[in-house]
Each structure stands twice: as C-alpha cells, then as structure tokens.
C-alpha cells in the first residue's frame, strides 16, 4: 500500500508544474495585476497568457492522468519543478512608478490561501523593494505546489484552484 502510494506520489508529482507571474503596473488609480501561467500535464504543455483586451483565458487541460485516492493523500511537485512567483512593477515610460497623493512607495504582499482542494505549504509574504521599480521585476519566492485529496475512492485528474491575496500597501 505504502509502495503504491509513493509510486503514485512520484508519478503525479512529476507531471505538475506551474509558473506564475504577477505583474504590477501603475498602482493608482488601478493596480494592474495579471498572470502568465503555464501548466505541464502529461505530455502536453498548456500555457495561457494575459490578455487585457479579452480579460479571459481558457485552459485546455490534459485529463488523461486519472488518479485514484486510496486514503488521505497529499501530492506535491517534485523537487525540480517548484512553483515560482514573481512580482513586477512595470513603472511608467521612464521606468518609475507613477504616484499621486504623496505616496512614498507601494508594496505588494501576497498570500496564497487554502482552497478546497489545493493548499500551499505555508504562507509567503514578500515586500517589493524599491529596486524593481524600474520594471525589472522581483522574484518573491519559490514554494511547493501541493494538493490534498481526502476522500477515499475519489478519482482525480488534477484540479487547480488558487486564490492570491494581493495587498497593496502605502508606506
């Protein structure tokens, strides 16, 4: 039982990877936040990029990898494919954030929040320093994507439901 569980973990762990980028732009009056998202599933690489015009991106996921849950099970990415999040402050044409009302700086903290099926191992918070205000971006952390299935007998092919809490903080 244990052996098959480990095997299953390795199998699923090896096929899930993701890469997200949150992009920050002019912060006031509206913060522009977007994702570039890429999932690798089985043999297919599915990507989606932001589109401010259509405001909608659809993913066509590979559902071939079904997985039966025999007991409470945690699945996570293998050690070579962590989920990485970066924050970018795009700035204006001169490479500077556009402020009004005397804002000294803007910081973006984020938290990854639990979902019914997906949790992240711990909470990360990161402050944007002044250095990425030229638009070069700032990697804020790498962590392991982790899913939790707790209903014995379920078959799952993978479900990704993630909530980002982005905090824009005047300092």
């Amino acid at each position: 039982m244990k052996k098959s569980l480990y095997l299953s973990l390795l199998l699923l762990g090896g096929i899930v990877s993701a890469n997200s980028i949150i992009t920050m732009a002019k912060v006031e009056p509206a913060a522009l936040v977007s994702f570039d998202q890429a999932f690798v599933t089985g043999n297919s690489l599915v990507t989606a990029t932001k589109s401010f015009e259509t405001a909608k991106v659809e993913f066509d996921m590979d559902l071939s990898t079904k997985f039966e849950v025999s007991k409470n099970l945690y699945v996570q990415t293998n050690t070579t494919t962590p989920l990485t999040i970066s924050l970018h402050s795009l700035g204006d044409a001169n490479g500077k954030l556009t402020h009004t009302n005397g804002i000294d700086d803007i910081r973006v903290d984020y938290k990854l929040m639990d979902d019914d099926y997906a949790t992240f191992d711990g909470t990360l918070e990161k402050t944007l320093t002044s250095s990425p205000r030229d638009g070069t971006g700032d990697s804020v952390g790498t962590f392991w994507f982790k899913q939790h299935y707790d209903t014995p007998g379920d078959q799952v092919a993978g479900k990704y439901s993630i909530t980002f809490e982005v905090i824009l903080k005047a300092s």
Binding site: V27, E28, P29, A30, A31, L32, V33, S34, F35, Q37, A48, K50, S51, F52, A55, K56, V57, E58, F59, M61, L63, K66, T100, N101, G102, I103, D104, D105, M113, T127, T129, S130, S131, T151, G153, D154, Q155, V156, A157, G158, K159, Y160, S161, I162, T163, F164, E165, V166, I167, L168, K169, A170, S171
Partner: protein
C-alpha cells in the same frame, strides 16, 4: 466506491480588483476632520468589501504593529459593490484636537473571499471549475497631526560580516521629530566616512534594502547588505543628508 471524475476547465477571469482612492490622506486642520475615501469595483462581477481602520503603533524591525482605535469612526464598514460601482467611505477623526505628535492610521479596504454573484454554474452543471482568483486588499494611510510637523532623524550603525566583496551594515534610525517618514535613498543621501573621506552610497549599494516608515518618537532598523562602492577600511561614521 465513490467515483467522481473531476473535469477540469480552468478559466481565468482577468479582472482588476477593487481600488481605494486616495491611498494616503492627511488631516492637519480641524476643518478636515471629516474625509472621504472612495472604493471602486472596476470588474464585471460584484464584490464584497470590508473596511477597517487601525492605529499604527510601531514599525520597529520593519514589522508593522496595529491596534484597534476609537479615535477614528468610519461608515460603512461592509458593503457589496456592484460592477463598476463606487462607494464613499466616510472617515472622521474623533479626537478633541489635533495631536502634537503625528498619529498614523491604516485605512484598509479588503475584498472578501465571498462569492456574491448570482451565478451557480457549478451546482447546475455538475462540472467543477478550477479558478485562479485574485483578492485585493488596499492598505492606505491616514496621517493626523498639527500643521508644520517635521521628522528629526538620528542614526547609529553597525558593520556586519561581509559576503565576498559586498559589505553589509545595519542602520538604526531614531525619529525624535513630530511626524513620520520613510528614510529611503530617494529622500536622503547616505554619506559614509571611511579613512577620513566621505562617500555617498549609490543606488547599487542600496540594492534590496527595505526602507519602511519610522514613526514619530520611534526607531526602526534597516539592513544594507550589498554595499560595493566603498573602499576597504573601517566605516567611521554615517550621516543622512536630505536631497
């Protein structure tokens, strides 16, 4: 054996979150005790918003400590914003007079993780949808003080162990003035004396330094860990010069 096949349809609705305007506001006159913040929902979906105001009591070691306060009243504290709707939040300073030493408050507009739309797609179709959700929280600042308040900074430092050719120092800044400030290198030159000669730290030296607010009457410590533009030799002094 219960079998559920989860069909994965991942949709990403790229909608900008709520906004809080203005992000900073100053009350420095008795006439201005009543102020308004505006919260806007620019998205196509309704969102639930929670408003709170907390007093900032410390930022030591870059950790902001806050506490509840009865010196600020605000209304409303929770509401649902329809798509494209803007609501006014009325904030009032309840103190009898303006404080001699600046008081700093966080005005927080938090998008709640509650679905207030009427859509019940998942229940009706039986198809589970995976989503990437963005929830925004704006943390604005409200400063309350008498006119003509000023920060007054003094500095102490300690050289830390260097890594490679990068020197590192911790800088502790005490603000004995009457208003707070973020003492970043956009506002101040950091002038360092080595072997009797003064050098100005460059942007490159400030890489990844996180300057946060130093409240009036408080202290904060910052770390400069990537100093590459100083000659060898003991750092004799550091001083701040307003740009």
């Amino acid at each position: 054996m219960k079998r559920i096949i989860l069909l994965l349809i991942l949709t990403f609705n790229l909608a900008f979150g709520i906004t809080l305007i203005p992000l900073t506001k100053i009350i420095s006159s008795k006439k201005d005790k009543n102020i308004i913040f505006k919260v806007t929902n620019p998205t196509k979906e309704p969102v639930a918003v929670d408003i709170s105001v907390l007093k900032v009591i410390s930022t030591d070691n870059n950790k902001e400590e806050r506490e509840r306060t009865d010196k600020i009243s605000y209304y409303p504290s929770q509401f649902v914003l329809s798509p494209k709707e803007t609501k006014k939040v009325r904030v009032k300073y309840m103190g009898s007079g303006l404080p001699e030493i600046e008081e700093v408050y966080r005005v927080i507009a938090k998008e709640l993780d509650v679905d207030v739309s009427d859509k019940k797609e998942e229940e009706s179709t039986g198809v589970l949808r995976a989503k990437i959700k963005m929830r925004f929280t704006y943390e604005g600042l409200l400063f309350v003080h008498k006119p003509n308040t000023k920060p007054l900074l003094s500095l102490s430092f300690q050289e830390l162990q260097s890594v490679g050719n990068e020197r590192a120092i911790s800088v502790t800044i005490t603000n004995s003035g009457t208003s707070s400030i973020v003492p970043n290198h956009g506002i101040y030159n950091y002038l360092v004396t080595v072997k009797g000669k003064e050098y100005q730290l460059q942007n490159e030296d400030m890489k990844k330094a996180e300057f946060r607010r130093v409240l009036a009457g408080k202290t904060n410590t910052f770390y400069l860990k990537h100093i590459v533009n100083l000659p060898n030799g003991k750092i004799e002094s550091i001083r701040l010069e307003k740009k």
